[in-house]
Amino acid sequence: MAEEIKAHITGVVFQITTKPGDAVAAGDPVIVLESMKMEIPVEAPRAGTVKEIRVAEGQTVQEGDTVAVID
């Protein structure tokens, strides 16, 4: 079942560390945000496969925005 991964903090997308098709474990960073001058990973809530990345590097995201989808 697909699950949306949401940003838990407002920030700028610093790095996209996975791509569609990648397998991730629970707690693996899917993308990294920059906020409060810190690199803050957005982690997979459970194990799965990355289905979609919905943001681009440099893009500003708000807390609660969907940044990726895992299957």
Partner: protein, 517 residues
């Protein structure tokens, strides 16, 4: 009757009461994955130390549908026993008797147990597994108007004796305020829940269809609402957690916390601390590794580990002496403080200060969160709670700046102005009104914009800024006591604690402050 017959009658009465709500009800309790109230009390206390009061209690005889029936111990086991040799008073709700509902006799038993705890200065422990008030005995204002004593008393006992309310089953309506006013609330996963209004009331009043677990299960309160302190797997783990929690506290606020034997060398150097902070100030690490490396035997007892994870609050020991550790967690939200983190830390600081448990602050904080979301949620008043709590605390306070000590984050984490008895920094420390990047962008905005190569100019200015905030600047001005090798942290804290042991600070008289909430 002869005494022998009277004694046999007494034994039969005791035996009936110990059978609780009967075989079927006890079987149901076990099938639900729960221990009985009596088994719980036995496991809570050191073997053979429980003295029960009120075993012959039964309902008040005012509800017509209870006529001719008994409610063994009136659905509540009360008495005193020892935990690690020290006395504590218990109120254990027995769900096998009318769903652990609180009747009038049980209320009197509870009053008695609380009075014993308060007047004899011992911890009060509630084991909650109750449907709430026994409506049959509470209906009508003649009965209801006199009740509520419990919550007033609990408020008055707060900070005098430790209060623990374990959720080991349901705790709806008024019962949910027992944990709300307690110091420590463990919740058993899957079998416990608490809500001001249970599912049927919620359905009737606001039309929401929801299960008790979704409404107020352990996940909700340990990870979202912050109303509970620790999620535990089952009853046994819950009772062990209560015993461990209380091992860090004195029996009352007039005593010192108990000291344990310590075999961990006080001058043990923690080699792993040399490489724990990443070279890049933008990278995170797990501050719990620092705590474990420093405290006795790497052992810590976290309070609210699943909620506001950007700050860690944990009980631990240094050379056998209990301490409360408050540490920013760079791994979550970069360690930035938000509303929940400030609430969590403020409450923990008040808890430790109330019971003479010294505080250790490990700073790595980029500041308080900014932005419209947190402002609308009132981060100013939430942050104020932490300022207030750290200012009020008169227990020994030891501060170690691991890395960032930015802005008000430095203040609330017991910066120099907040009466730390020792304040030291690792060589990686940066004590500053704000971080180098943010500061440079504001102070040198014009110079950067006017430069031929703005990026290079910014980088040069950031480096200059960094030189102004390294720990030798604060140490050179004697504003911190020392810059230390991270490996020495344990020894520095143990010595600081010894030095501060007889600390005494008198505050001006007041009835009480106006606490930010």
């Amino acid at each position: 009757m002869a005494m022998k017959d009277l004694v046999d009658d007494l034994a039969a009465r005791r035996s009936r009461a110990r059978a609780m709500g009967g075989e079927d009800a006890v079987a149901k309790q076990r099938a639900a994955g729960k221990l009985t109230a009596r088994e719980r009390v036995d496991l809570l206390f050191d073997a053979g130390t429980f003295t029960e009061f009120g075993i012959h209690a039964t309902h008040a005889g005012i509800a017509p549908d209870l006529a001719g029936r008994e409610t063994p111990a009136d659905g509540m086991i009360t008495g005193v026993g020892r935990i690690d040799g020290r006395l504590a008073s218990v109120i254990a709700y027995d769900f096998t008797v009318m769903a652990g509902s609180m009747g009038r006799t049980a209320e009197l038993k509870g009053n008695r147990a609380r009075e014993i705890a308060l007047t004899k200065r011992m911890p009060m422990i509630w084991l909650i597994d109750s449907a709430g008030a026994r409506i049959q005995e509470a209906i009508g204002s003649r009965n209801f108007a006199a009740t509520g004593l419990l919550f007033r008393e609990e408020s008055i006992m707060s900070g005098v004796i430790p209060q623990v309310a374990a959720m080991m089953g349901p705790g709806a309506a008024g019962t949910a305020y027992i944990p709300a006013l307690s110091d420590f609330v463990p919740m058993v996963r899957g079998t416990s829940n608490m809500a001001l209004g249970g599912p049927p009331l919620v359905k009737a009043v606001v039309g929401e269809d929801i299960t008790a677990e979704e409404l107020g299960g352990s996940k909700v309160h340990c990870e979202i609402s912050g109303c509970a302190d620790l999620e535990v797997a089952d009853d046994r783990e819950c009772l062990a957690a209560i015993r461990e929690y209380l091992s860090y506290f004195p029996s009352a606020n007039t005593d010192a916390p108990p000291v344990s034997a310590c075999s961990d060398p006080v001058d043990r150097r923690a080699e792993e601390l040399l490489t724990i902070v990443p070279d890049s100030a933008r990278r995170a690490y797990d501050v719990k590794k620092v705590i474990r490396a420093v405290v006795d035997d790497g052992r810590m007892f976290e309070i609210k580990p699943g909620w506001a994870k950007n700050i860690v609050t944990a009980l631990a020991r240094l050379n056998g002496h209990p301490v409360g550790v408050v540490a920013n967690q760079p791994q979550v939200l970069g360690g930035a403080l938000d509303n929940d983190a400030a609430d969590k830390a403020a409450r923990f600081i008040m808890l430790c200060d109330a019971f003479n448990v010294p505080l250790v602050f490990l700073q790595d904080v980029p500041g308080f969160m900014v932005g419209s979301k947190v402002e609308r949620a009132g981060i100013i008043r939430h942050g104020a709670k932490m300022l207030y709590a750290v200012s009020e605390a008169t227990v020994p306070k030891l501060t170690v700046v691991l890395r960032k000590a930015y802005g008000a984050g430095y203040y609330v984490m017991c910066g120099r102005a907040y009466e730390p008895d020792v304040i030291v920094a690792w060589p990686t420390a940066e004590i500053s009104v704000m971080g180098p990047e943010g500061g440079t962008n504001i102070v040198f905005r014009r110079e950067i914009a006017a430069a031929a190569d703005p990026a290079a100019e910014r980088a040069r200015r950031v480096e200059d800024f960094r030189k102004l905030i390294n720990p030798y600047i604060a140490a050179g001005a004697a504003l911190i006591d020392d810059v230390i090798d991270p490996r020495e942290t344990r020894a520095v804290l143990v010595r600081g604690l010894e030095m501060a042991k007889r600390k005494r600070i008198d505050r001006p008289w007041r009835k009480h402050g106006v606490v930010p909430v």
